[in-house]
Every structure is written in structure tokens, then in C-alpha cells.
């Protein structure tokens, strides 16, 4: 594939990187701990509206990161559906006639939806939250698709696009609302913080599930393409 010299070069590069990186990690681990961030987090956790620290960081303390991260997901989904077949995303080759699988699915799908709901609800005080729940939703969708169940809502129409941005839009509006109320961007009003975080998470779960599913389903079979500039 590559010349032997190039291979040895690559190997040396990788070994050097590993050695230097390992040395640096080792040296840094010898230092006295510098961080009092976990302590600060504990102090302020009560004011964040959720009991689970990771959720508090994601949806309150560093909510701007999370907002932009959803934006990144939406971008990927857009790029995906922009290349998809425009009529329908159904893939006839995937349809299965396996009755056993279908019967199994009839039980499995509600169970997985239930699990997704649990993960979402648990996020407030235990491990779980919008991302895990959204991934579970998407996994359910993937299963349904693999067995050929029709997923008409994934047609790249207006409904799909609304679904993709629903969670993001609510998040953004909450951010704006606090700014209109005279506070900084994304600051939740103290008294509603719990409810707001839960509603944002719920819609985020739906949107994340849809985005991940759309990305999976967006099989690029659309032949139309833009001619290169100057080639008409």
C-alpha cells in the first residue's frame, strides 16, 4: 500500500507521539491537584435546578456548549438530507417478510420507547438524560427501519425539518426569553429552572432521536448535482 520507508516513518511518528504524550500525562499526574472546580460545582449544584451534576453542567452551567453542540448535530442532519432522494427515504431492499422478527418487534419497540422515556426522566438526579434517551429513540427507529417498517415521517419535507430543529428552537427561545427579561443570554429564571430544563430535555430528546435517525436513513441516492463553476 505504501512504500516500506513511509510505513516505518509513520510507525516512528506514532511511537514518538505516544511516548511524548505518555510522558506528558505521567508528568502532569505528578503535580499537585490544581482544580477546585468539583468543589465549586458542588456548592452551586443546589441552584442549578437538577440534582445530577453532569446534567447540571450540560444544561445549566455550560448550556452554551450544549446549544452549539445541538447546532452541530443539526448541520450534520441537514447535510445528510440535502443529499437524500427527495421523494422518500424508504429502501425497498430492506423490507423483510420475517414474521418472527415482526412479532418480536411489536414487543421490543414499546419497550425501547419506555426505556428512552425512563432515561430522559432519570437525567435529573441519576445518570441519563436527553442524549442517551435520544440515542435510544434513534436505535428504536433503526430497528424499525431494518425490519422494513415504513417511516414516512422521515421524508425530507417540512415535517422532518421542523422535527430536526424543534429542540434547538426551544432551547434558543428560552435563551432569548431570559435576555428579554433583562438577564444574560441563556440564564434561566430561578423559579422555573426545573421545569424549563425538563421541557428543553424532552424536546431535545425527540429532535436528537430524529436527527440521528435521519442521518442513518439518509442514503444518498440522489443523482442530481451542481455542475462545476464554468461548466455549463
Amino acid at each position: 500500500m505504501r512504500s516500506p520507508a513511509a510505513r516505518i516513518g509513520m510507525l516512528l511518528l506514532a511511537l514518538m507521539l505516544t511516548a511524548l504524550l505518555g510522558r506528558s500525562v505521567w508528568q502532569l499526574s505528578m503535580l499537585e491537584p490544581a482544580s477546585d472546580l468539583p468543589r465549586q460545582l458542588q456548592d452551586k449544584l443546589a441552584a442549578s435546578g437538577v440534582e445530577h451534576p453532569v446534567t447540571a453542567v450540560l444544561l445549566n452551567f455550560r448550556s452554551y456548549d450544549t446549544l452549539l453542540e445541538i447546532a452541530v448535530l443539526v448541520i450534520a442532519a441537514m447535510a445528510g438530507i440535502s443529499m437524500a432522494r427527495t421523494r422518500s427515504l424508504e429502501d425497498p431492499e430492506l423490507r423483510t417478510s420475517d414474521t418472527l422478527l415482526r412479532a418480536l418487534l411489536r414487543w421490543l419497540v414499546p419497550l425501547m420507547l419506555l426505556l428512552a422515556g425512563y432515561l430522559l426522566w432519570a437525567g435529573a438526579d441519576r445518570p441519563g438524560g436527553a442524549f442517551q434517551a435520544g440515542a435510544m429513540l434513534a436505535a428504536t427507529g433503526v430497528l424499525m427501519r431494518l425490519t422494513g417498517l415504513p417511516l414516512d415521517f422521515l421524508r425530507p419535507g417540512i415535517l422532518l425539518r421542523i422535527g430536526l430543529v424543534l429542540g434547538f428552537a426551544l432551547f434558543l427561545l428560552v435563551g432569548l426569553a431570559s435576555a428579554i427579561a433583562g438577564d444574560v443570554f441563556l440564564a434561566y429564571p430561578r423559579e422555573f429552572v426545573k421545569g424549563l430544563i425538563l421541557s428543553i430535555e424532552t424536546l431535545l430528546t425527540l429532535s436528537i432521536g430524529m436527527i440521528l435517525l435521519a442521518l442513518f436513513v439518509a442514503a444518498p441516492v440522489n443523482d442530481a448535482s451542481e455542475p462545476e463553476e464554468g461548466e455549463k
Binding site: 500500500m1 505504501r2 432515561l119 442524549f131 442517551q132 440515542a135 436505535a139 442513518f216
Partner: protein, 91 residues
């Protein structure tokens, strides 16, 4: 003591699966090994007392990424119409 041994084994398994996922000749197998890597990562996160990441890694890192890649490989295998398919890389 047992825990340290477990951690060492896990770390070794991570490195081996990572190398195997990249070196495997067969793309399909490479991705299956990669999914195994993701699951091992999830165990790792449990050992690092990060259950949130473990859940996300298992669902997103191993599950969805794996399905996405497997789907792509089967797409490559089916080829595009009658064209010859450049499926496996050489060397």
C-alpha cells in the same frame, strides 16, 4: 489487586481491539471489532465512575456509529448498479 488486574486487562483489550480494527483485512470485520472496542470503552467509563458516558458510549459510540458504518459497508458490497465495485483496499 483484582481491580488493578481487571483494569490492566481492559486497557490491554482496548489497545488490541483498536489495533485489530485498523489492521483487519476485511472491512466488515474491522467494523465489528470497532463496535467491540466501543463496548469495551463503555466498560472503561464505568470503571472511571462515569455512568453517563458509559450509557452514551454504548448507545451512540458503539451502537449508532457501528450501525451507520455497517450500513455503509453493506451499501458498498451491493455496489452501484453494474459498476465494478472497489470494495476492499489493497495491501
Amino acid at each position: 489487586m483484582v481491580e488493578i488486574l481487571l483494569d490492566l486487562l481492559l486497557a490491554l483489550a482496548l489497545i488490541l481491539t483498536a489495533a485489530a480494527a485498523l489492521l483487519s483485512q476485511d472491512l466488515f470485520r474491522a467494523i465489528v471489532v470497532f463496535i467491540a472496542f466501543g463496548l469495551l470503552m463503555a466498560v472503561c467509563w464505568v470503571r472511571l465512575q462515569a455512568p453517563d458516558i458509559a450509557l452514551a458510549e454504548a448507545a451512540i459510540g458503539a451502537g449508532l456509529t457501528g450501525v451507520l458504518l455497517l450500513d455503509a459497508v453493506s451499501h458498498f458490497r451491493r455496489g452501484r448498479g453494474t459498476d465494478s465495485v472497489v470494495e476492499e483496499e489493497r495491501g
